[in-house]
Symmetry: C2
Subunit: 371 residues, 2 copies
C-alpha cells in the first residue's frame, strides 16, 4: 500500500513536491507532522487537526509502550481507532526518548535496557520488539531502532553508534518483512553525528539494506543551526531521489524553509504545540508572546488574514486574558493557530515548488520577517 | 426585551416549564446554565456549548471585574463579543466571591470592601457599581449585590444580612432603571439563611421592590441537602408565579430533580465542569471515576447511548489513558460529556413536564440510579 511519487522539482534548488500514499490516506509533501506524543496532539481533537489541514500525525512509541501499553491499544486494533484519528500515523522507534527521558539507558548489541521515567520499571527494547510494538500500534510509517548519540560526540563513539544503528536496521527490516504489516512502511535512520564521512557511511549502509524511506536522525540535538543545515546539506543528496526523506525533530519555520530547499519531504517537531502552551505564537511576521501587556486591549486576531478557527473568532486581548488566567482554552486556541501556521506554511512551499517559484517564496518569507 | 412565559405546570408537583426571552435569544426552562467563571466555560468553546445544547451561560462579575477588567471588556462592547458567545449571559453580582475568595471583606451600608485574591489590591463594590460593571459586561440577566452570609449563622447576623440585602436591592434597581440597559433583566436575591421567617421577610421585601426575576441565594453553602431543600420548599411558593425562579450554585442531579419538582426554573453549578476535570463522570446510571483501573481496556463509551461528541468518538479506555497521562484533551472531553448530561437531563425534565409526566420521570430517574 505504501508508495512515494515525486510530482515536481524546483529548478532553482533541491526543493521537491511529492505524494506519499499509505493505507490511511495520501500525504502531500513537503509535509509537517504534528506530534501526538501520547495518543493526543496536546489539547486538540482529530477534527481540529483536519480543520487546520493536518494530513499525518506522529505518535511516540516509547510513551505509548509504557502507557497505556500495547495490551490496551491492542484491544482497539491500533492507535488509529484508540485515538479516533483515521489518517496516516508515523511512529518513532522509541530510541530517542529512551536516551533523553528514561533512566539508566544501557546499549548492547541486543538492544537497549532502561528504566521507565514513570515508575522506574525495567525494560528492554530490541529492534525486533520496536517493530512488534509499532505493528501493534498499527503505524503507517514505522521507524527503525537507532542509537541516537548525544551532541557533541567523539568520532569513535559516533562510529560505534552508527555501526549499531546499521545492525539494528537490518534486524528491524527482517522483522518487518516477516510481519503481516509489510504493506506499511519502515524507514531507516541515518546517524553519524556531525561527521560528514560517517553520515555518508551510515546512509550508504542503510541504502544497501533498502528501505521505503529514509530519515536523517541525530540532528537538532543541541548543535548550532548552521551545523544542522550543513549535515543535512551533505547527507540528503546521498539518499535515493525516489524515496521520501524525513528530518526528525526539526524545527523552526526558518529551518523548514532551508531544509525544504535542500530536498526534505517530511518534518515533525513539538515547536508549534509546545510553544503554543507557553504563549508563543508563530505568524508570517515573526513570533509574538501573547502574555505581552501590549495585547491587553488588542481587538485584532493573532495574525491578520489568518483563516484558522482561533483567528476567525478571537482577539489577542481575549487570548491574552485566557493565557494570563491559565484557562485551559488558552492552550488549545494557541495550539490551533500554531499548527495551522506550520501546516499552511508547508502548503505554501509546496504550491511554490509546483509553480517553480520556490526561491521567490523563500525571499518573500524572509522579507516579511524583517518588516 | 426580557420576558418570561409559563408554558406548562405539572399537575402532580410544583414543576413548571417556561420560556425566558432575552436580547440574545430564548431560554427554555427549567434550564441548567454552565459556569464560565472568567469568560470561558473551562476547556470548551462556544460551539461546543451549543453542540451540547447550552442555551445560556453564567459569568462571574468578581473575576471579570478584577481580570481582565471593564476597560478591556468594554473595548469589545461586552462579554458576548469578547468571548465569542452570542447567546444569553447571566452574571452574578460578585458578592458571593467577595466573601468566599477575596481577603478582608468588610461590609458597610455603602457596600463591601475587599482585597483582590490575585494581587491584594483594594476594591469597593457598591450596589451601584455592580450594576455598572454588569452593564459593561452586557449581561442579559444581572444580579443584585447581596450579603451572602456564611453557614451556620445566628438569627441576628442573618437578619442584619437580610436588611442590607434589601437596601442594596433597592439601590441596584434604581441604578438599573437609570441605566441604558433596562431592556436586560435584573434579579433580586432572597437571603435569610436557614430561618424560614427570615426567608419569607426577604422574599416579601424584594417583591415590593419588584424585579423581573428572583433568585434564592445563600443555599448550598455547607448546610445538609435536606435543609437546603426545606428552605427552597418554603421560599419558592412565596415568589410570584409569573417570574422566573433561580436557585444559585445548586447542584447534584438529585438536587436538580427535587428542586424542579418544587418549581425552580434556573440553575447554575460548577459541578459538571469542575468534577469533569477531576475525572468524575455523570451518567444516568450514577457517577463513575474514569481513573478507576476497571476501565483500562474498556472499549465502551462513558455512557451507553449518550449522543455527546465524547461518547460518539471515544472509549473509556482512551479517556482513562488521557486522564492518567494528564493530557489536556482529557479535561475537555470529560467536560463535554458532563455538561451534555446536565443539559440533557434538564431537557428531559422539561419534556416530562410538558407531557405532564414529571412524577414518573422522577421515579424512573431514581430507579436507574439504583440498578
Amino acid at each position: 500500500m505504501f508508495s512515494f511519487e515525486l510530482i515536481a522539482h524546483s529548478t532553482e534548488s533541491r526543493a521537491r513536491a511529492g505524494m506519499v500514499r499509505t493505507s490511511h490516506g495520501v500525504v502531500e509533501t513537503p509535509v509537517f507532522m504534528p506530534v501526538g506524543t501520547r495518543g493526543s496532539v496536546k489539547s486538540v481533537t482529530p477534527e481540529e487537526l483536519l480543520a487546520v489541514g493536518a494530513q499525518i500525525i506522529l505518535g511516540n512509541t516509547y510513551h505509548l509502550y509504557l502507557r497505556p501499553g500495547c495490551d490496551v491499544i491492542g484491544s482497539f486494533a491500533g492507535l488509529h481507532q484508540f485515538m479516533h484519528w483515521d489518517g496516516p500515523i508515523l511512529t518513532d522507534s522509541g530510541g530517542f526518548q529512551v536516551f533523553s527521558l528514561a533512566k539508566l539507558a544501557k546499549i548492547s548489541e541486543e538492544g537497549v535496557t532502561f528504566q521507565s521515567h514513570l515508575d522506574g520499571s525495567s525494560h528492554l527494547l530490541t529492534p525486533e520488539k520496536v517493530i512488534d510494538i509499532q505493528n501493534c500500534l498499527g503505524s503507517d510509517i514505522m521507524m527503525c531502532l537507532d542509537d541516537c548519540i548525544q551532541y557533541p560526540a567523539t568520532r569513535k563513539d559516533s562510529l560505534t553508534a552508527l555501526e549499531i544503528t546499521t545492525k539494528w536496521a537490518k534486524r528491524c527490516k527482517q522483522t518487518w518483512r516477516e510481519s503481516e504489516t509489510e504493506h506499511n512502511a519502515l524507514f531507516g535512520i541515518v546517524q553519524g553525528s556531525m561527521y560528514t564521512d560517517l553520515r555518508q557511511r551510515s546512509a550508504e549502509e542503510l541504502m544497501i539494506v533498502d528501505f521505503p524511506g529514509y530519515a536523517v536522525g541525530g540532528l537538532s540535538v543541541g548543535e548550532p543551526a548552521e551545523v544542522m543545515l550543513e549535515m543535512a546539506d551533505y547527507t540528503l543528496p546521498i539518499l535515493p531521489d525516489t524515496k521520501p526523506r524525513y528530518i526528525m525533530g526539526v524545527g523552526t519555520p526558518e529551518n523548514l524553509v532551508e531544509l525544504v530547499a535542500l530536498g526534505v519531504d517530511m518534518f515533525d517537531c513539538v515547536l508549534p504545540t509546545r510553544n503554543a502552551r507557553n504563549g508563543q505564537i508563530f505568524t508570517q511576521f515573526g513570533t509574538i508572546n501573547i502574555s505581552n501587556a501590549q495585547y491587553k486591549e488588542d481587538t485584532e486576531p493573532l495574525e491578520s488574514g489568518c483563516k484558522c478557527y482561533t483567528c476567525r473568532n478571537y482577539s489577542r486581548a481575549y487570548l491574552r486574558h485566557l493565557y494570563m488566567a491559565r484557562e485551559l482554552l488558552a492552550y488549545r486556541l494557541n495550539t490551533i493557530h500554531n499548527i495551522h501556521y506550520f501546516i499552511s506554511f508547508m502548503k505554501q512551499m509546496r504550491q511554490a515548488i509546483l509553480a517553480d517559484k520556490f526561491e521567490s517564496f523563500r525571499k518573500d518569507y524572509y522579507q516579511k520577517l524583517e518588516n
